[in-house]
Amino acid sequence: MMRASAPLPSLLALFLGACHGVQTSASGDGTESLRIGNLFGLFLGTTGVVYLIVLVLLAIAIKRGTRHRACGSGLQGEPPSHLENRWRLGLIVFTGATALILLLLSLATFLTDRSIARAAGAPTVEVEVIGHQWWWEVRYRDPVAGRTLHTANELHIPAGLTTQVKLSTSDVIHSLWIPNLAGKQDLIPGRKTDVMLHPLHTGLYRSQCAEFCGMQHARMALDVTVDSPADFARWYDTSLKSPPIPTGGLAYAGFQIFQNRQCASCHNVADTPASGMVAPDLSHIASRRTIAAGTLAMSHANLRSWIADPQTPKPGNQMPKVTLSPAELDALTAYLETLK
């Protein structure tokens, strides 16, 4: 008995730990995840109670079975006549209750679905997220020309307002999943899908690609930041401006290397000659929380080691290993850190 219950506390800890965190569907930080979380709770409670009742009945039946076999009456044949009515009534009640419960659960599902669809409403913010192997391209649309914002591997949305995320992909099927806010939505080649996000409060969350898309599917995370509407507007305006080109020192040397070497042929840094469109936009890389779609945490050392050899932390990704001297690496890292 001791050995059987040993894993129980750790299992409980595992379950309870799922309630809060940057990547959990149990915390209900968005309208969709909250409503579905409530529905899940209803299902869990109902089916849990039914399960316990069935277990109790099973235990009774097993115990009764021993008794009947002992006195020879057996359960194979007809029920004894004095029990027939009770059995019939019991079966009718059981079947009726099952049907009623299933009906009510279906109704609850229908109502939840409708309430989610109604809560979405007209979106305040429209974002396009384009999936690539293995990074996220994010483009904000603004009715004012010249206010389109391109970024990568990060998503900022305002709390309390509806954001419509329009999804498409440049290569294979991906799936955007921000468990704290909403369910999964696939990014399918040749098709446009979308997901409505309605966060309830500010917070930092981690999203994940939820459809196997190749070698580095596991390292394709998206940092989601829910700001207050004022903070979101401030972040948007700041991101539209580009950081100035460094004028001297290590950062300027890094800028030179960036423009003249392989970096500029794939990456884009706003207001510089580097305007490659096939790799993540680096205009504000230093203000991101992670490098390479959640592969490494943002830090000077990680950034430097990523540039030195991207194939070790994320083998097979599309960024090649460029031979750079330690001095060049220092310069490049210094330059990229100015891109806040």
Partner: protein
């Protein structure tokens, strides 16, 4: 023969089949960080390798080679799917062409891509004109690379005035 030994005998062809499947494992070898120790014979590493050909196809699109070479059909640049090569058709030649550029308009990509990427491009370009293993050809997209290359017959130069020009070009271009 007992039923047990008969069953065991029936498994023998199955075991042999499984062994034969191992023969295709090499096709999936992927080398993400080039091993420069093989500098002597890098062509062998890259040519006919499914991964490198697929990456070369990706880079062909990324670097807009189609801007002049139009998916191998040519245009401003010469076609890449025939047997006529002005500067050589071996993998080493193609890599040098890509990295250093050539007269009459081929840009130098030395500072824009890594050497490995140039080898991958060469592997892809080679697959456009030289018969490559069917299971190494890229399965992506509707590129002409997905079909077997056309025959390797000489193409008559439509602008040739006399047979002499044809013969001269033949001497220079083909390898």
């Amino acid at each position: 023969m007992s039923s047990l030994s008969r069953a065991r005998l029936a498994l023998l062809p199955l075991a042999l089949l499984q062994l034969s499947l191992l023969a295709s494992c090499g096709r999936e070898t992927r080398d993400y960080r080039s091993n420069m120790l093989h500098a002597q014979n890098r062509a062998a590493d890259f040519r006919g390798n499914a991964y490198h050909i697929a990456q070369g196809q990706r880079l062909f699109g990324w670097m807009n080679c189609s801007g002049c070479h139009s998916h191998g059909g040519g245009g401003m640049g010469p076609p890449l799917r025939d047997a006529k090569w002005r500067y050589g058709s071996s993998m080493d030649n193609i890599v040098q062409t890509i990295l250093n550029g050539r007269p009459n308009g081929m840009p130098a990509f030395r500072a824009r891509i890594t050497e490995d990427q140039a080898w991958e491009l060469a592997a892809y370009v080679t697959s456009l004109s030289i018969r490559t293993r069917k299971d190494a050809l890229s399965a992506r997209g509707e590129e002409p690379a997905n079909v077997e290359p056309p025959t390797l017959d000489e193409r008559k130069n439509p602008r040739a005035v006399s047979g002499k020009q044809d013969a001269a070009e033949k001497k220079v271009g083909t390898q």
